[in-house]
Symmetry: C2
Subunit: 340 residues, 2 copies
Amino acid sequence: MIIDCHGHYTTAPAAHQKFRDAQVARFNDPAAPPARPGAISDDEIRETIEKNQLRLQQQRGSDLTLFSPRASAMGHHFGDEAVSLAWTRANNDLIKRVVDLYPQNFVGVCQLPQSPGVPIANSVAELTRCVSELGFIGCNLNPDPSGGHWTSPPLTDRHWYPFYERMVELDVPAMVHVSASCNANFHATGAHYINADTTAFMQFIEGDLFHDFPSLRFIIPHGGGAVPYHWGRYRGLADMLKRPPLDQHVMNNVYFDTCVYHQPGIDLLVRVIDVKNILFGSEMVGAVRGIDPTTGHYFDDTRRYIDALEIAAADKARIYEGNARRVFPRLDALLRTRGQ
Amino acid sequence: MIIDCHGHYTTAPAAHQKFRDAQVARFNDPAAPPARPGAISDDEIRETIEKNQLRLQQQRGSDLTLFSPRASAMGHHFGDEAVSLAWTRANNDLIKRVVDLYPQNFVGVCQLPQSPGVPIANSVAELTRCVSELGFIGCNLNPDPSGGHWTSPPLTDRHWYPFYERMVELDVPAMVHVSASCNANFHATGAHYINADTTAFMQFIEGDLFHDFPSLRFIIPHGGGAVPYHWGRYRGLADMLKRPPLDQHVMNNVYFDTCVYHQPGIDLLVRVIDVKNILFGSEMVGAVRGIDPTTGHYFDDTRRYIDALEIAAADKARIYEGNARRVFPRLDALLRTRGQ
């Protein structure tokens, strides 16, 4: 079985974006009409999924995608607490409908109603709703709700602890995932995403978060940002900062996905990072949608890169399935109820 | 001949830091005594260089280091225009003294007196002084003088054009190099440096800077940040953004150093990036000073990784010497006057 740990509903029906546009208009001008989620039929959802994510699953031969709202549209920097909460709930409810229509193909991962400067309590409540009521198995946590200004405390700060406590209670991991950038220096998918991945990992080295939460688990997407390429630097910095070796200090709690869009990158990832810390992911339909002229295949068809690895079949099975079931215990439980 | 394109005077005599401390004190309290560069003897410089950078050059077998002030101490975010200029001049003057004492071993690369929100004219003047009067051959350009708040325009913005015009006139390249981070999210050498490298490269993809300045040249240090590891992503993003292929659009003007502190990283770098774009560098004595327990050698002894590559001797010679002489024409001219 091939589980893709990283997929977003980047193709949601137009009515969904219309709701967001109305929300933005209303926030900017209180005289504008109130925004309400628009009517979206099951057929519209089917069309956007079957032509895109489901088609690509089938073409590329993956079985199940851990599916969350479009990351770049989370837009935590915009509006206020109420705007963020309403938009987040609409997004998560839409994911739930996708999962209900295609329960064999998608499992829900939720967005959180984060807002700069707002306590994390709203996110605790929405995580609880999504896991306990909607059957979701994980969440995307944004380390920079400001959208490229980085005004929140590091992920190791106690600011985040109430959220981590709930994650641990519910036994769900978080993918560390920023949203759009409103800083002209940072292209969203080309700089902000990768920088956030790198930044989060270094915060985990500096801090002592997993001493306080031994069972807390994070997936750092996009192959861990710059980290595997600079693995020597990070091992050396841990040493200079008098932290324990990374395999003890961080790598019992942190996992990287395989959203690295060329064979040499995946080869490096598997060469330096223990297989137990690698989860298959494609981020499709996502950041890079074209065909690599050097291979004739889609850049984000990451299964080809894993298949081409000269590693034991058992290790491939861990990357494709076993690790995801271990990091997402609620996924494992769900699959077991189906005899999978 | 082995040219290290990336070395900093991280071991300057204590009087130098005392001057900085006095500057900071004076800025914070105008009643404090005025700050003046302290007296530093040639012997003090000899001691700090011979015990550190020169010793390591000899032990590791490199010949010449392109030497600049300590990057993390540039501190462009601190104080005002006058503070930044005085500190920068003191730093560059100290580098000049090192070069005068060891002309066979070091060539000068200057710091710039950047300040957030200040026009780039001061930097134009200091670059001119350092190149025309002090014989320096390049500079370190900070894309984020705010120190982790990223308040300046992207490197492709016209804000920077007067500086680029002077770089082109003087025929000197710039290393894109941030300084310390005053944002708690970003560890300086573990996140801010690497993020800045990645960010700059993506800015070059988005923009059209090298159309306006066909002979402008940048070195992106630390192996190009996350870029080589995500080379497929960047090729794919260039395609999605309707930019020309990277080899035409960026890679006639952008170079990566070899400050990547483990063999697998260097292997990847040379596998995906054309040898013509790679310059030997170690960043010593720098970010990571310890010994890698898995090899028994210093993490930043990057010559070992290059030596271990299974590539043609002519390609190694380009990485070690030829590319640096091409990217730094004033270095080449200097070496030729010496018959080297």
